[in-house]
Amino acid sequence: MCLGIPGEIVEIPPGQTDLARVDVSGVRRVVNIGLLDGQPLRPGDWVLIHVGFALSKIDEAEARAALEFLEGIGQAYEDELAALRDSSIER
């Protein structure tokens, strides 16, 4: 429905309250961060960008947790595959 791109804040121009320069794979654009009022933003933070506005700050802890869940599933899958292999050797 709506193309949203994660970008890393590389600069918050001094004297600007609602603009930030973000980087997407080395590509930079100034975006409006006025919709994120009240959330402290620093270079290094990631935001989701849509039509020139940052819609939300990306929560790295949540992202990591999600990946860990996926890795867990992956690990469990590997274990099962291994178990399956072993069992077939024995059969």
């Binding site: 429905m1 709506c2 193309l3 791109i5 970008g7 980087d23 997407v24 794979s25 080395g26 590509v27 930079r28 654009r29 100034v30 960008i49 849509h50 039509v51």
Partner: protein, 346 residues
């Protein structure tokens, strides 16, 4: 009539109108140029019009673009580019300084490609027309090899290569227009490919089936032309397609697929298999190895082919389609682009 960026709409128009009118055995709109014999000499002949805006952009300008484009169309016919013509349509009031810059850049590009611009023409049109400067180049090249090259010559088992990272020219132009306010360290890839073609042909000579410079419509369009004209399927590994990070980033921001973005110094290469059904002769059903590796090595040995890669293979089924094995492990069709790639929000 829609804006033309090599998409289906333009292609359909050209085919419908011009093929209808000019139909003759040599007119082969799917190729980059015509090939014929004159007085016992086999020649290639091609033309392109350049209407790029802005006229000057990082990495080049309309001048070297016009020279390289025609040099490349000759080179990918397997011809040695010799002579170029240049027709200019200039807007009244166009700064002579800019014209000087453009012609200097054409002269440099011609020297680099070892061709001469031998004949030309200039028309000046009313202010407001012509957007500054349009250039149409045509070129004549000498065909020194016998085996025909062309989009209809791909065969199951062939390997598909690209000569370097894709999409740099198109992204550079989109950003150079300035309207998107996006900054990126990306420069046009405009370059003459004849040297690279010579290196490739020296290495794998008769094994080359098809060469195409991936201009309007990008690599995806070329691959579709090959699939359709040869009645084969082209299967591309998404992971294997070289794309520089800045190009990827800009394409992500704009919702554009780099496969459809124009290059001006990259080509798609199809080389023959070596008999084991997949093109490399090593019996493992895998396109890498053998001829494909030799072609890759030849490309990489040339400065303009450093970033070359084997990106896919040709197979018989499903004929006429380009399939992409995604990095994610899925599969999809890569269709012909409809019109320009447009920045999108959804």
């Amino acid at each position: 009539m829609a804006h033309g960026a090599g998409g289906k709409a333009t292609q359909t128009l050209i085919e419908a109108v011009f093929l209808d009118a000019f139909r003759n055995p040599l007119l082969e709109p799917l190729e980059d140029g015509a090939v014929f014999a004159a007085g016992g000499t086999r020649l290639a002949f091609t033309t392109d019009s350049y209407v790029v805006s802005p006229l000057f952009f990082p990495g080049g300008d309309i001048g070297d673009l016009a020279v390289n484009g025609t040099v490349n169309d000759l080179a990918v016919c397997g011809a040695r580019p010799l002579y170029l013509s240049a027709g200019f349509v200039l807007e009244e009031g166009f700064p002579v300084e800019d014209l000087r810059r453009i012609s200097a850049s054409m002269a440099r590009a011609a020297a680099a490609a070892e061709v001469s611009i031998v004949t030309g023409d200039t028309k000046v049109v009313q202010r407001g027309k012509a957007d500054g400067c349009y250039v149409t180049t045509a070129g004549v090249g000498l065909l020194e090899r016998d085996a025909p090259l062309g989009v209809a010559h791909a065969r199951p088992g062939d390997a598909v290569l690209v000569s370097g990272p894709i999409g740099e020219h198109g992204v550079t132009i989109m950003l150079a227009r300035g309207e998107l306010d996006i900054e990126a360290d990306v420069t046009s890839d405009t370059a003459p490919l004849n040297g690279l073609v010579t290196a490739l042909l020296a290495a794998v000579g008769g094994k080359v089936r098809c060469l195409r410079d991936a201009t309007r419509g990008g690599v995806a369009t070329i691959l579709n032309e090959i699939a359709r004209a040869s009645g084969v399927a082209v299967v591309v590994e998404e992971d294997a397609v070289p794309v520089r990070p800045a190009v990827r980033g800009a394409c992500e921001l704009l919702g554009i697929d780099p496969l459809y973005v124009a290059c001006e110094g990259r080509m798609v290469v199809v080389v023959a298999g070596d008999g084991d059904g997949d093109g490399d002769g090593d019996g493992d059903g895998d396109a890498e190895g053998g001829v494909a590796d030799a072609a890759l090595a030849a490309l990489r040995s040339h400065p303009l082919g450093e970033g070359a890669a084997i990106v896919g293979r040709v197979q018989d089924d499903p004929p006429g389609l380009v399939l992409l094995k995604t990095a994610f492990g899925g599969t999809r069709i890569v269709d012909v682009l409809v019109g320009d790639p447009l920045p999108r929000i959804c």
